[in-house]
């Protein structure tokens, strides 16, 4: 019962913050768009969400019109449909990167913080090494071995992203480790593994969850940057960064072709940042009062 009211109280705090709610609503719109494109793309007038519909009869970018509400980009791609399809694509990959990075980082961070000693030192040094890798360089090295596809870019981004979560989880574990309930569990003979994942993990999760919502935007931005500079050669996949790069050579005559896909990413990153700030206020009582 008490847990329930605590949860309701948290919801109340979150929903009394107008910017956080705005962020949440925009985020949900993106999710709904992705779900519609996934399950019934015809509802939005998209025939194949996995491939860009090109029109070589009229390849020059056209300004927004009733037929193409956001205009078209080279070669004759309807921007509205392309962006709708691309959101599903980017959202899907960003979520995979963030969740696998968080899972890997949390597990290593908890082990490192809980066990301590030499193991802690070794894991933290490894974390430092991975932390120092520029994502661009690693993305290409991975792309080299596994082929330049979106999947290999995901692997590359997970490899550079988990150290952040490992550091958070470790710091959190170190402070929880000293609490009386952990001592109590140890004295009553609970195994270390169980303490780590039954008692410590639930306490480590909330700040990691906030970090996930803040990172979702950054990952989508980085993902689009990788596609934008041309690291992923397969040309016909709807992806926001790739869409932006298609319009780049027409920037003088058709600014909408670069602005709209870029704005789609910015709006998403903005929304998840606002949402993340709201979530942080919920879990951090110090920020709550101000």
């Amino acid at each position: 019962m008490e847990r329930y009211s605590e949860f309701r109280y948290s919801l109340k705090i979150f929903f009394s913050n107008p910017t956080a709610v705005a962020g949440f609503i925009i985020f949900m719109l993106y999710v709904i768009d992705a779900l519609i494109v996934q399950f019934d793309p015809r509802l939005l007038g998209i025939s194949n969400p996995n491939v860009l519909q090109m029109n070589f009869v009229n390849p020059i970018p056209q300004p927004p019109s009733p037929k193409h509400p956001l205009g078209t980009t080279y070669p004759g791609i309807d921007l509205l449909h392309a962006i709708e399809a691309a959101i599903r694509f980017d959202l899907y990959y960003s979520i995979i990167v963030v969740l696998s990075g968080a899972a890997l980082g949390a597990v290593l961070g908890i082990i490192s913080g809980y066990v301590g000693g030499l193991l802690d030192d070794v894991i933290m040094r490894i974390t430092d090494i991975f932390f120092a890798i520029p994502y661009l360089v690693l993305a290409i090295a991975i792309g080299f071995v596994l082929g330049r596809t979106y999947e290999s870019m995901v692997i590359g981004l997970v490899i550079v992203w988990w150290p952040l979560y490992a550091r958070y989880a470790r710091a959190q574990t170190l402070s929880i480790k000293r609490m009386p309930f952990i001592d109590a569990a140890k004295i009553s003979g609970v195994r270390d593994l169980k303490i780590m994942f039954k008692h410590i993990l639930p306490n480590v999760l909330p700040p990691i969850f906030v970090q996930i919502s803040l990172d979702l935007g950054s990952i989508m931005v980085i993902f689009s940057v990788l596609a934008f500079i041309g690291l992923i050669p397969n040309a016909s996949i709807p992806e926001l960064g790739y869409l932006t790069s298609l319009g780049l050579s027409y920037i003088e005559s058709a600014p909408w072709a670069v602005i709209f896909p870029g704005l789609a990413i910015t709006l998403f990153a903005l929304a998840v940042n606002l949402m993340g700030d709201g979530l942080r206020d919920v879990i951090d009582p110090r920020r709550r009062s101000s």
Partner: protein, 351 residues
């Protein structure tokens, strides 16, 4: 812990990090890269026994039959004697060391200009935003910084190009100098200027003020893009720190004893609020280098980032290894220096 011991420990950590980083990228590149390496050096018109002979020679030269860690040691050995291998990209082919000498100066210039812009824009706005909390100015700054923070760097570049390059037509947005002007210059060849490889500086050396002015204008948009991409974080951090510091007792005391508000803000509060900003500044430098990759390819600016992109897109092993090393060294050095500075400023960190 003694300070020198702390510094020594940090330096050893930094070296371990660099070795780990380069080994990982080296291993990744060479697991899939041996055929690629051969393809780079093998003349495609060679056939029959001559080709076999050539392959044998190349395998021996690059130690391709040895295990990867042995190959890595050969690379490390070559690196220590100043030999980074060869790069072959459309914009430059030749020794990697020469490529770095040719392309790095431009990036350094852009980064320094951007870093100065970040200070000039970021600090007054951050302080203003905190001092005039919840005013219209504060809200405007917060909305703009939040939006900039969320934007991909190429969108910032595109918006600046649209505003200043296409609608207002006051700033150029491609190449480091007007190509028509540059065509007749004897010291400007294949997009690279001599002797310092920084175009505005070279123009000054050769006493050509028209080219100097053109090169200066061409550098504005790329460095402004870099600065805007980073400055949002600086403003947000400074604002939060200022708000915290302004609440503290010693600031209240200063106000209570009648110190003018200007002195309180600029002397008492700002100094302390800047410490965390300065410490995050090192990571900012690393961020600038990453941003340079995108910015230089959008603006066709021949810097290290532009060359890196070319190396990446052309599967150029030598170029990618060198880029990893440069990016890694800058990042590791930045955090090393910061750790040391921080430890000197705040002795608690050492434990």
């Amino acid at each position: 812990m003694k300070l020198w011991l702390f510094i020594l420990k940090r330096i050893i950590y930094a070296i371990i990090t660099l070795i780990g980083l380069t080994f990982m990228v080296f291993a990744l590149l060479h697991v899939g890269g041996n055929n690629l390496l051969l393809a780079t050096y093998l003349n495609p018109r060679l056939t029959g026994p001559a080709r076999e002979e050539m392959i044998k020679e190349l395998v021996q030269r690059f130690h391709l039959n040895d295990p990867i860690y042995v190959q890595y040691f050969y690379w490390l050995k070559a690196l220590l004697s100043g030999n980074l291998g060869y790069t072959n990209t459309p914009i430059y082919s030749g020794p990697v060391t020469t490529a770095i000498v040719l392309f790095l100066p431009n990036t350094v210039m852009l980064t320094i200009v951007a870093a100065i812009l970040i200070w000039i824009i970021g600090i007054p706005l951050g302080v203003y935003s905190a001092v005039k909390r919840d005013s219209i100015g504060d809200h405007t700054i917060r909305v703009i910084t939040f939006t900039l923070y969320a934007m991909p760097i190429y969108l910032i570049a595109v918006i600046l190009i649209l505003i200043f390059g296409i609608y207002l037509k006051i700033l150029p947005y491609s190449f480091p100098v007007n190509p028509i002007l540059a065509a007749s210059l004897p010291w400007y060849k294949n997009g690279i200027s001599y002797p310092t490889h920084i175009v505005p500086l070279d123009a000054l050396i050769h006493g050509n003020l028209i080219v100097f002015w053109s090169a200066l204008r061409h550098a504005i948009l790329p460095s402004l893009t870099l600065a805007l991409a980073i400055v949002a974080g600086v403003i947000r951090l400074l604002r939060a720190q200022m708000l915290e510091v302004l609440e503290q007792d010693y600031v209240r005391l200063a106000r209570a004893k009648g110190v003018p508000e200007k002195v309180v803000i600029n002397l008492h509060a700002r100094r302390n609020a800047l410490i965390p900003v300065v410490t995050s500044y090192g990571y900012t430098v690393a961020g600038l280098l990453g941003g340079a990759v995108v910015v230089e390819s959008i603006f066709n600016y021949p810097g290290i980032g532009y060359w890196t992109t070319q190396a990446l897109l052309n599967d150029d092993v030598g170029g990618i290894m060198a880029a990893t090393l440069i990016f890694g060294v800058v990042f590791v050095m930045a955090s090393l220096i910061l750790d040391i500075v921080y430890a000197i400023l705040d002795p608690r960190i050492r434990y």
